[in-house]
Subunit: 179 residues, 2 copies
Amino acid sequence: MFSYTADSLKSELNSKGWRLTPQRETILQVFQTLPRGNHLSAEELHDILGQRGEPISLSTVYRTVKLMARMGILRELELAEGHKHYELNSASPHHHHHLVCVQCNRTIEFENDSIWKQGLKQVDRAGFQMIDCQLTIYTICPEALRMGWPASVPSRWMCSRSIASMEPTATPEVSSSQV
Amino acid sequence: MFSYTADSLKSELNSKGWRLTPQRETILQVFQTLPRGNHLSAEELHDILGQRGEPISLSTVYRTVKLMARMGILRELELAEGHKHYELNSASPHHHHHLVCVQCNRTIEFENDSIWKQGLKQVDRAGFQMIDCQLTIYTICPEALRMGWPASVPSRWMCSRSIASMEPTATPEVSSSQV
DNA sequence: TGTCTTCTTGAAATTGAATGGCGTTAGAAT
DNA sequence: ATTCTAACGCCATTCAATTTCAAGAAGACA
């Protein structure tokens, strides 16, 4: 797996007419020291930077993650309820997909080559060019069940991402939550 | 495939302590007369209702589609860039996935049972309960290419949903766009 | 049918993620 | 060192979506 240094980041930026700035270096470093498999929203990233004593303005954070997603350094994920998250996009990407618990928002990654292949097949069939391919599976996880969420969804219920926001009763906080 | 009448909708609502209102009946009817495979945003639905001479306030539209998604009558889709769309969730759902052009936002549906099966396999492996499963493939479509969008993305580029918003040059309008 | 309870509506205000404008700061090429 | 302009930070703005609240209506029951 390829890892950026300040120099390689600089040359990649410069090759497109962009500049290396302390902010960009810092933000990339946060992602590079993030435990593998974690992802951050712009807002979360902004908080982390503040806690580290290197505050960066929120608009710069937004601009930077978008730029890095554009460059292919970060991967943009749309998981639960209109929150975008970003994660390192390794040079030889082990493409992964996500399981999201609609109750506690916990996410779990998994890899599955045949999904990627199926996606590629669909794109070829349509004569398009594939850029990214993400399977998101919405589930209820065992922990959420244990903590008192409804034991099952109505049989006809196929998509229930809205449960959480429609049940104003206490939302169980899951300590290992990533979202 | 099961289809709601005013009566069956009423009993399903009442069984949960909710009420049948003209607004809810009208909104369901719009979805039921919508060509198969189409989906609407709350905003679009609101416009359609206005054009039909049966204006319903935007907040009611939002509340109703969320309620119907919760009941399993509608399926909530999160397609391009923070726009939620809704479609009828047929009783024997033909589960479909989406191709999204990152340039013109056009979406194309496709069905693929093996993706659903792969998803199910993953969920079983984790001991979870599957609620929904959606593959979203980000592409550049031939029309967008023809209209002058960049012919290719950088080789390292894995996720580029941000292109459109970062290229402030004219956005090609595609007439058959659904989004 | 009339009365009562409370769910629902509509209008307006509010939230919250994300973006844009603009004056200033600071990369990096010459 | 000078010059050009990308990038920053602050702040206002946008836009989807939600909430608030008084008025209205659905449904239950007598």
